[in-house]
Point group: D2
Chain length 247, copies 4
Amino acid sequence: MPGPGLRVTIWNEHVHEREDAHVAGLYPDGIHGALAAALAQHRPGDEVSFSTLADPDQGLGDDRLDATDVLVWWGHMAQEQVADERAERVRRRVLDGMGLVVLHSGHLAKPFTLLMGTACMLRWREGDDRCVMWAVDPGHPLAAGVPNPLIIPADEMYCEPFGIPAPDELVFVSSYSGGEVLRSGCCFRRGSGRVVYLSPGHETYPVYHQDGVRRLIANAVGWGAAPEGTRPPLDDAVWSPPGWYEA
Amino acid sequence: MPGPGLRVTIWNEHVHEREDAHVAGLYPDGIHGALAAALAQHRPGDEVSFSTLADPDQGLGDDRLDATDVLVWWGHMAQEQVADERAERVRRRVLDGMGLVVLHSGHLAKPFTLLMGTACMLRWREGDDRCVMWAVDPGHPLAAGVPNPLIIPADEMYCEPFGIPAPDELVFVSSYSGGEVLRSGCCFRRGSGRVVYLSPGHETYPVYHQDGVRRLIANAVGWGAAPEGTRPPLDDAVWSPPGWYEA
Amino acid sequence: MPGPGLRVTIWNEHVHEREDAHVAGLYPDGIHGALAAALAQHRPGDEVSFSTLADPDQGLGDDRLDATDVLVWWGHMAQEQVADERAERVRRRVLDGMGLVVLHSGHLAKPFTLLMGTACMLRWREGDDRCVMWAVDPGHPLAAGVPNPLIIPADEMYCEPFGIPAPDELVFVSSYSGGEVLRSGCCFRRGSGRVVYLSPGHETYPVYHQDGVRRLIANAVGWGAAPEGTRPPLDDAVWSPPGWYEA
Amino acid sequence: MPGPGLRVTIWNEHVHEREDAHVAGLYPDGIHGALAAALAQHRPGDEVSFSTLADPDQGLGDDRLDATDVLVWWGHMAQEQVADERAERVRRRVLDGMGLVVLHSGHLAKPFTLLMGTACMLRWREGDDRCVMWAVDPGHPLAAGVPNPLIIPADEMYCEPFGIPAPDELVFVSSYSGGEVLRSGCCFRRGSGRVVYLSPGHETYPVYHQDGVRRLIANAVGWGAAPEGTRPPLDDAVWSPPGWYEA
């Protein structure tokens, strides 16, 4: 796990909290505020900043992305408003080494689906399901210090078949009261960057105030950061004459 | 999916059926008989034979293994009686290209744990759990024609963390009434052979008489068979002088 | 390996052969003609048809794609002319179960990069390199009947780091006279479809007339086909009320 | 990458250096001495200790293993002398979270083959081959700060098909002067532990005095260490009554 000092940007579309009193009551500082509190608790040395859809460049400007080691993404109803060009820029930064931690309904976020190449659809139900989240790889950094299982008293149900490529590392699988299951904690390597998908966190429940979930998100930020000395992948096809790599 | 004509050996320790009246009532022809009926139904052209722990060489003689394309394994209470030397011989045949379909409590079968290299432990409960088995990779040959989800009205509960290496192909995840989950349909490639683990089938329930389960087992046999023209891996370290591969 | 009878479409941009006398001399029936001959030799029962960039809908019309089990792709200098909308349509068909076999410079084909989500760049050299292609997984269907190693007397050099996601199945690695290496035979599962990348086949060499290469391409077509009974993945987020999956 | 302070044990069979003047000249402090120097240079805060085959318990006593975070293994001619019971103990410690970095001819070390479950054979040639080692995943922690390619002027040739399970993370592929290739930097997760295989380091060449190789080994030690808070996997089948995981 990389040490403290990561530059973390929490991107939150920040619409539900402004338009829905119930959500505003749960997250008076915004979902981004709750996520920042999780990082402050479990990764106290990081430099955490926020950005939202309402910000200039939709909070995803080049300068901001270039200064971000790990981008945490919460989006839902307004994800389609993210400009294609901004989504593409996020994708490129991930390939160059930025971490991307995609939460809950972010499975349909443009940068995530661009990086996956697949439809990323799933079944869902907004009801009163309890979610029980199991570490299938208890030695993985994402699972360190997280109860196994992690019980989330109420969350939106998400169900397989979840249309993602096979994760490079599958860490968590969740069940719901209705008997459904989801690969709910998935790690992907793309280019020199890393992508984590974590399913918890429907806006109508206080999921991000729960300690095990907070630790999980902090773990994901730590795992998502590229190691020091990471090289970007080739961004063009490079002509390489005989002997090009000789000293 | 390879065509018909596979030489399939169903190995069953065949102890519960002889010692327990309830199991005998469920499986009057033995668990192997029910598995053979599944193959007769869904892969009618295969040559299916049986062997059991009580047979000469524990039903795992060299000649038998050499004449087997896919070995189906059901064992439980007597698995420790399988001779180490026979388990090792099964492992070697898998590396050379034989398929191995390991059912239910076979997660602790000696050939399986030898091939995995890990402890293969899990949590369990013999109760009245319903199992709901989900294809997370609905395009995989194991899932073809199997309902998604496949509901097994009663089966033993098996729960993560299941101590296996990450499967090369994860196809099914199950939930149980108690909220537990298991990676219940897992494919592994080892040497030139293939190994499938499928969790359904506690001896005290009529699981192998259920059609979706039967199709699943037939699919696993088909997937487990090596393609024609398969080469075995190196079985020794081969000294290879300069130019050894030139015509 | 699925039996004969696949509907295979060979898509060739078909520009080099019309504009360059040397290439025309090597491939008087077009590169697609040589690829079709490979399939006729090694998968005689398939229904093989051609399409090229000059055809209506760029040879990638919906009706054609819908009637294709496996699409073989050769493109290079004109790949950027493929309409985004056609590339997206190919991607969707793959997710629904169509196989896609991408050859050589097709590593930058639009449908391939869309499916991968990464940059797919590599180093290259058009010189006189010999390529030696090694099966690292000799039990894989792609390797059946192919010499190990497969020596290609002259081909364009392609070199790591190749910017793809980790293949779901890595089958071949090649070395070149200059000491470079490439993951040259890679299998990916995306949605319910399968994607194969094979590096051999620069247009200025008679690579597709070589028998081992022809067998390799036929193997890839066989592997790429979805098993009978394959279900498409979800193409939308599906609301699933309590009890939705009960009989 | 975990911070400094790891407890690293370098196990060296330490036979060649005592019996062969040429090797003794290359490694006057033993191969373990050169490996320790690599760690002192690149991971200065670690606690590094040695053990060899001639030590009590073959240098693999329970107390030593229990006090080891990462075990580095160099063995060759005497690996068969390692007691089965000691090899099994190493395997168990890896499953419980110890890292294992296996070098060069250690591909046939008993703990490694037990953990892999496969034959782990390969082709080889002791000649004058140059080895060119390529990072295929340049964003991986193993590759950080290592030249790409890493040129080893002379080393033993190792060639595919290397009989290992597909690595969970493939980081390096090497070519040799003779045109052969090897998956030469491979990461495996087994239980809660991690296993790295790195091919460089035949005893008759000064490979471990080369800086890029030294950095590589230090990276492997860092990657091999389990994250803080790691739980061991189940070491027995655990009966779990209804409600066992409720608070």
